[in-house]
Each structure stands twice: as structure tokens, then as C-alpha cells.
Symmetry: C2
Subunit: 254 residues, 2 copies
DNA sequence: CGACGATTTGACTCTTCTCAATAAATGTGG
DNA sequence: CCACATTTATTGAGAAGAGTCAAATCGTCG
């Protein structure tokens, strides 16, 4: 295996993938491996810049990012904007199950690889279909909660909080153990971040310089280093006053 | 039937409710009505200001708004903010299926009523469980798509677009036929809107005055009238250039 | 090395927020 | 049903935040 300079292409382990519960139902790692193979297409490579789906692509199944990163482009009125990012272990296409066709574009930000779970082959699961659906419902529910939190942060009052929350989120999602990485590679352009957060690219740049000067984090090109997690969390509005353990909060709003 | 002045309390029809597909599986309107009754608690009244769930409430099932309106309050860091609204026909609690417990507060903005679908009684569906789950997956998928669109609009560059998109969304969601109503009652305070959109309450107020002066819409207290749908859609960034019918868009980003 | 795209920085403008003061609504009790 | 108290909404003025345009660096890749 060749690798260029320090660029590894980390691949998420199946047990850290949102598809895992679903793959397990299909017999992942058991004697029933052939069942899994017949439902999930594993590790399909996607080159940087390639489009996984475009508007009009019919829904055939959901994808799980195995390595790399993707961005979703959506048409908002006359303008095309970045509306989502997808990192290893995350599912793509959940919002399209019902409608039957994609309305946006999903594009690889890096050379990536994905697994695909074909919905047309689900009948092969036979009596395991109920368990499969259960797993899917749980994955969707988890995702909805996550999206809601992210969405709330993206609506935050000021740009500083939005960017801090975004970086914290990316640092966390790029790390298999779901804790923010101290060092990582930002797969998207400043322009993508600006677009996604609804800010000007110059604002992003200035904030990054400022964060760096304050010793919170440092971005050199695409290489990111977080120096002060506590401050970053605070900026992002993620810090919660530590409640005395064991004491239930009263039945008051949040 | 008595009604106070012009204030009806419109109740959504079952066929316009997101729970409908699910209720149908359980035999809504068929000879099997008793099955439905044993799974869905129908038309439970909730007084204005009452909390449907608070942080720590265990998940027992999902709710469907039958009449009235609700808001979701979430703790974002130190601050409690409005993160969602729920109108007749919409489901509440989908993001909590997986985690087992609510982390936010859902509060009635008006006297309202809801149906509850208890998850502990699902086994009574027997062999229909597969169809039930199918319906639930579709409802969740639909909701994810909707939330994504809303979220993208809420991140819009300027306050004018955000507010226009919000009002258009509310006008649509308050109307059973899913087209924006020309006249409706805004169930939430300006403060709720400001909080939800991440804007100052004064900004909301000024924009509303401006919209009114431009003849787009008029808000007197809580009574809203939309005069110019086209302009409102344009402001909200919802206008799409009409593509020549029958011609597929090229495989380009959106 | 050199060219091109990406990012940063500066100067200036426009938008949105904050604080303060009114003005409407809404609710309450007589 | 009216007067008063309270909450909610609007308006104004000045300050801070974020956007725009233009120019200068930085980085990457052939």
C-alpha cells in the first residue's frame, strides 16, 4: 500500500458506521455472510469531484460513507448552495427513501469510498425484514436528533458561534471515536464552509485568524489543530453548566 | 357548535395527518377499528402553556398534532431557545425514538389536541408490524427532507429572506391542503420567531412593517394576511425559474 | 520555476443589534 | 363594559457585526 506523504486515507470500521446495526441484521461477520453481500455493496470507490447522485437520480438505496468526505449541493431558489457534509460512518439518502428521487447533488470532496444498501434487494432478508426496519428507524431517529442540534447551532446569532460550532462538529465527526480530534484535515474549501453557514468567505477567514491569535485553534491550509477544546466548546455554545450529579432538573423548560 | 368571533379551532382531518398511513395500517375506518383504538390514543386535549414533554420525559410513543400549535424549547449551551414549531398534522418525537428520552420541552402555544401512538402497544399489530414500520420510515424520510429544506432557508444570508421563508412555511403548514393560506393566525409570539430565526425581535418587527408597506403581507397582532404570494416566494428564495417541461436537467449540480 | 486557484488582509459600506422610549394588545377586577 | 396593569410589539438612534470590492499572499501542481 502506497501513501503520499502524511496523507492516510482513514477508513471507518464497520462497527463505527451507522449502517452497522443494519449490516448486523443481514448477518455481518456471521456464517451468513453471503446474505450481507447480496444486500450491501461494499467499498465502492468514488473519485474526488465525482457525483454520487444528481437531481433526478432515482432512489435505489442508501449509502454509507466508508472513507473520504462528501458535500450536498441544493438548489435554493436561483442559487445552488452547500447544504450538508457527509463524513465516514454517516448515511446518505435517508431523506429520499420516501420521495423516490434525489433533488440535490452529492459530490465527493476527496477520493472516497462508500457502501451501498440496495432497497430493491431487501426481500432477500426474509423474516429479518422487521429487524432491518427497526435498525433503520433507529438510525433515522438518531440522525434527526443530530441534524436538529446542528441546525440550531447554524442559526446561532453571531458568526463566531456558528463557525466554532461547525468546526467542533467536523472535528467530532471526522474522528471514529466520536470525540473531537485535536488534529485533522478539513476536507472542504473555505468557500464551502461560508456557503454552508450563510457567511461571507472573508468572514470565515478573519474568524479563523482570530481563533488562531487567541490560541484556540490553528488552520494552516487544510490542516487543523485544536489547541483549546474548552474555549472552542464555549464559543460554540456547547458548554453546559455542570449540574450536581444525581439531581434531576426540575420539570421546567430545559 | 359555538364559536367565538371568527376564531375557529380547526382540527386537521385524519387524511391530512402524517400519522394517517400509520393509522391506516392499524385499520383506521375499517372493521378493525378496535385495533386502531388500542394503539392510538385519539384527541387528547392540551391547554395552552401545558408541556407535552420536558427534559427527562421517557419516550413512550410519538404524538401527532390534531389541532393548535406547539413549540420546542431546547437548551443550547447556557441559553434556552425555540428550535421548532409543530402544526396540525405533524408528528412530534421522531428524534427521540432511538434515545429513549426527551431532552427538550414541547409546549402548547394554544389550546390544542393531540393523538398519541404508543410504542409499547405495537406488538398488537402482529403481522402488520412490517407495514407499520414501512409507514413510519416513509414519514421519517419525508420529515427529514422537509427539515433539511427549512434548515437551509433558516441559514439564508439575510434576515429578510429568513423571515419571508419562515412566514411562507407557516402559512403552508397551517393550511390543511398544503398550499399557503392567504389569511391565518400566527400562533407564536414575535419573540419566538426571533429566537427561532436567530434574529433580534426588533429586526422581525421592522421587517414586518416593511413587508406591510411593500404590500406583501400584513400582520395585525396575530392575524396575518398574505397579499402577494409571488413576491413572498421570491423574497424567501423559493422561486425557481420554470424549466421547459419534459426536458431533463443536465447532470450538473442541481 | 511559474501559473492558477485559494486564502488572507484592508478599507469602506450596509445590515443587524442594543438600548431606550412609546404604543398596542391582552388580561383583570370592579 | 370600562379603567388599569401587564405583557407584547413598534420605532428611533447609535454601535457593533458582517458584507463587498480590491489587492496582496500563500500553496499546489504541472
Amino acid at each position: 500500500m502506497t501513501r503520499r506523504s502524511c496523507r492516510r486515507r482513514p477508513e471507518v470500521e464497520c462497527r463505527d458506521c451507522e449502517l452497522f446495526g443494519i449490516c448486523q441484521v443481514a448477518g455481518l461477520g456471521s456464517i451468513d455472510d453471503s446474505l450481507l453481500e447480496s444486500v450491501v455493496s461494499r467499498r465502492w470507490p468514488v473519485a474526488r469531484g465525482d457525483k454520487l447522485v444528481t437531481p433526478g437520480t432515482p432512489f435505489r438505496g442508501i449509502f454509507a460513507v466508508k472513507s473520504g468526505a462528501f458535500r450536498t449541493l441544493s438548489r435554493i431558489g436561483q442559487r445552488v448552495r452547500v447544504t450538508d457534509f457527509h463524513f465516514p460512518g454517516e448515511l446518505i439518502g435517508l431523506e429520499t427513501i420516501e420521495s423516490g428521487g434525489y433533488i440535490h447533488t452529492v459530490e465527493a470532496l476527496d477520493d472516497s469510498s462508500i457502501c451501498e444498501l440496495g432497497f430493491s434487494r431487501l426481500h432477500r432478508l426474509g423474516p429479518r425484514l422487521v429487524q432491518f426496519q427497526e435498525q433503520l428507524i433507529q438510525a433515522m431517529s438518531r440522525r434527526m436528533r443530530h441534524d436538529q442540534q446542528l441546525c440550531a447551532l447554524a442559526r446561532a446569532q453571531n458568526s463566531e458561534q456558528r463557525l466554532a460550532a461547525f468546526l467542533y462538529s467536523v472535528a467530532t465527526r471526522l474522528n471514529p471515536d466520536q470525540r473531537p480530534a485535536a488534529e485533522f484535515r478539513l476536507p472542504m474549501l473555505r468557500e464551502d464552509i461560508a456557503d454552508y453557514l450563510g457567511l461571507a468567505i472573508e468572514t470565515i477567514s478573519r474568524l479563523l485568524t482570530q481563533f488562531s491569535q487567541r490560541g484556540i485553534l490553528h488552520l494552516r491550509g487544510r490542516n487543523a489543530q485544536i489547541h483549546d477544546f474548552k474555549s472552542l466548546r464555549a464559543l460554540a455554545g456547547l458548554d453546559v453548566l455542570v449540574e450536581p450529579a444525581g439531581i434531576e432538573p426540575p420539570a421546567e423548560p430545559c
